[in-house]
Symmetry: C2
Subunit: 275 residues, 2 copies
């Protein structure tokens, strides 16, 4: 988080839905995407939509039957499905704009966050393109300038993320937890030293090396590193640490080309000379 | 959005706060970062915190005085500041864990989304690292595995995003708006054709070319492209379109090195031969 202000943004947040009830109104393709996102967030979902449902929804109901309740009819206003289901969040993805807006109005009266597909003014929040790698989630929002260009930015980001980023993040999470147990201080001097030390590990080690940490590595890092307030080098603590890197950066390509050029010219010169 | 489910995630959403009231409890460094994020989202902010405030907060209050109300005292429970301020969201960033948790409890009773800095169980949502480029926002969440590694991923992503991505997104947004005015259908055949055409433009044009579009380019694209259901090429419609690209991809580095190598070897051979 930075302290510079550039107006015109959304507040992007990671909503916690584990075991919390969400009401999804609609049974089509968009609803199937919403359902997948909700299940990834470990939510409990009530789907209100008359059959037939989109095949993906049917298959998700089979896979996650303990998490999904299907009410096989259109949304009911009196008594309202919002009152009976009592959800922490409502998503609608139906073609009837009027019904969606009435649901949105109901939600706002009851202070329940609502997203209406394809109707920004009726929404408290929007969705974006998501890149997921284990514990890492990257969300791309163009603030309403078009889903397709968000998908393009997403493709770029997917290509950039190192292969081992998910594993590196998981391992850092475990190391951080172990360190917290050793030095459980919050906000004080020890807490600050802990943050500094974690920052140095993250800065001085590559994603690849972080991903390779095992229990043994972590214990060594803590026993011999943290206790002395130093950062051990990957090659001193990692098992089977490999320091040979096969991917050549651009400059090495130039050097490789240069050498190949010398060889080629020398060979040609040699042939010409022999003649 | 995809339809694959990988549990253990958050639901990442872009919350709309324009002209909506948020209560921020705390006046330190974390609170200053929260304030900047809220102002970027065009929120109205009530800060409850006794002086002295963090210098960044003081300077933001001066810059955005019409958006910020400062109540110069600790949080009050009876009558509760939540009832009197009536916010759509509450953020706390104070060192008193007990007070934070009581505020969190109050918010949950009133169904007001709450974030308590550094206390995940008391939060309805978390923040992450943010990359901002004009209308583009990219949010990086490691789902609680550490802010430092999120910052590393953020650095990588910042390096990847093309220079002109913000401008490209803005221009696509304008083109999309113009097209919507020509073909205002939602959900029907024309709407689908519109989405297909926008997707093709985004796929076939580079970010650099999209960023170069002016009103004239857009009108041509729509008059001569959309109306015939074709995608015109950048070089046929862009003003002063430049097709010369100075950045060499890695392979060209190899080729350049190869040629340099041939020159070097030939020159050396020539010198040796002259002797």
């Amino acid at each position: 988080m930075s302290t510079s202000v550039v107006p015109g943004a959304s507040l992007i947040i990671a909503w916690q839905l584990k075991n919390r009830r969400v009401l999804l109104v609609g049974g089509g393709e968009i609803a199937s995407q919403r359902l997948a996102a909700l299940l990834s967030a470990d939510a409990l979902v009530t789907i209100v939509a008359p059959s037939p449902l989109h095949p993906t929804i049917l298959s998700l109901i089979t896979q996650y039957e303990h998490r999904i309740t299907h009410i096989d009819r259109p949304f009911l206003f009196a008594p309202s499905d919002i009152d009976t289901v009592n959800p922490v969040m409502v998503l609608t993805a139906i073609s009837d704009v009027q019904v969606s807006r009435e649901i949105s109005q109901l939600c706002r009266t009851s202070r329940i966050p609502i997203n209406v597909a394809d109707d920004p003014p009726a929404c408290d929040f929007y969705f974006g393109a998501i890149v997921r790698r284990g514990p890492l989630q990257v969300m791309i929002s163009t603030n309403g300038n078009g889903p397709r260009i968000a998908a393009l930015v997403k493709d770029r980001i997917e290509q950039t993320l190192p292969e081992d980023v998910a594993m590196a993040i998981e391992k850092i999470g475990i190391l951080r937890q172990k360190l917290r147990e050793r030095a459980p201080d919050v906000g004080g001097k020890l807490g600050k030293r802990r943050m500094r030390w974690m920052t140095r590990i993250c800065n001085e080690w590559s994603f690849t090396d972080l991903a390779k940490m095992d229990q043994n590595t972590m214990d060594k890092l803590l026993d011999e590193g943290w206790e002395q307030d130093v950062i051990l080098r990957p090659r001193d603590v990692l098992p089977h640490s490999s320091h040979f890197n096969l991917t050549l950066p651009p400059l090495d390509n130039f050097v490789a080309g240069f050498l190949a050029g010398i060889c080629a010219a020398t060979a040609l010169g040699f042939i010409a000379f022999r003649r």
